[in-house]
Symmetry: C2
Subunit: 210 residues, 2 copies
């Protein structure tokens, strides 16, 4: 068993605190305290607080985009013109599989992504990185082929809808209405999301018709 080095300990602590309190709500001091490291370690290993956030975001997002690429590859091998359900599954599936809600780390990473997406700072855009943009472009093209009646702006609207639903899921944006209605666990929530989003994406275009 290898003990984590300081760099990794700081990264772990930052992931947790950024997820819980957001970027601006987390101080470098709180991170290094939790990590059992020195305040100066952040500057040494990551240059600055922003550099640390970028590193945290990269570590969380990379496995997801990798899985999304792989799933889309599989789908396209099976069928050059895949259906909506397959595309939705290839895009959304990895978000659940890589961040299972029943796992503490998964829920934490999910909250972190929400914190990144919800951050109004311009900087936050760059945290998501180019991986994420590339994946989105690929899926956008695939959906455009599967939904020929849909104009680009409406397709883009729907794509954001997918991102919104999956990002908000498992994040308590409000108090739960009743205690038993908390977020679904693992596979259940994934199935709900796939049902919800496949139906939504399959809706006929309404771009200009009344």
């Amino acid at each position: 068993m290898v003990l984590p080095d300081t760099r990794t300990k700081v990264l772990d602590a930052a992931e947790r605190l950024f997820a819980e309190n957001g970027y601006r709500g987390t101080s470098v001091r709180a991170i290094t305290n939790l990590a059992g490291a020195n305040l100066a370690a952040v500057a040494y290993h990551f240059g600055s607080k922003a550099g640390l956030m970028a590193a945290v975001a990269r570590r969380v997002i990379e496995p997801i985009t990798t899985a999304q690429h792989a799933r889309l590859d599989e789908v396209l091998v099976r069928d050059a013109d895949p259906g909506i359900a397959d595309l939705v599954e290839a895009f959304v599936g990895p978000l659940y599989d890589e961040m299972p809600a029943h796992d503490a780390g998964g829920a934490r990473r999910s909250r972190l992504i929400m914190a990144i997406l919800g951050d109004p700072a311009e900087e936050a855009r760059s945290w998501a990185g180019q991986d994420e943009a590339a994946v989105r472009e690929r899926f956008l093209s695939a959906f455009a082929r599967a939904l020929p009646g849909l104009a680009a702006p409406e397709l883009w609207f729907r794509m954001r809808g997918i991102l919104a639903v999956t990002a908000v899921d498992r994040v308590e944006v409000h108090h739960r209405p009743t205690p038993n209605c908390s977020a679904g666990a693992g596979e259940e929530a994934k199935r709900w999301a796939l049902t919800f989003l496949t139906a939504a994406m399959s809706a006929p275009a309404r771009g200009t018709v009344r």
Copy 2:
């Protein structure tokens, strides 16, 4: 023409800056500077920065919840057992009508709501207030009647989906993929949302079946 008093000027400036930079990203100094008011005005009129945020949130949210209640009332008068499309329209419609994207103020208030929902702070929960919770409960019951096959947790999942899609709409959560694919304007975006969400809410339950 009545000139706005200091209280209103501060409220306006705060609404704008909170929307653009979030609660934590906005200093009281920046607000009073933009308002052309004195730093101490915030303490005098609102008690504290948090009190100011609560006042801003109330002013934005109240007209929306009022409209949602009214629209649901209308729907229930016409039909004691309304369909999914009517319920979705009654819930989502006011979010677009009260915050038109083509209007600068509408887009700003939309971003503000996103900033509130996305804020990880516990405090942020209370900003949305009880109005919003009451509306959600009413619609939850109405949807439950219209979707008898849907268990409570899955219904709650879908309700959050509606909130997610409408909140994220018109907010650039990422860089736009191509310049022409920006957010849809006004009525168009509303129609896209109603189409997308009505289809999603109408999907058959998948809670436990395979």
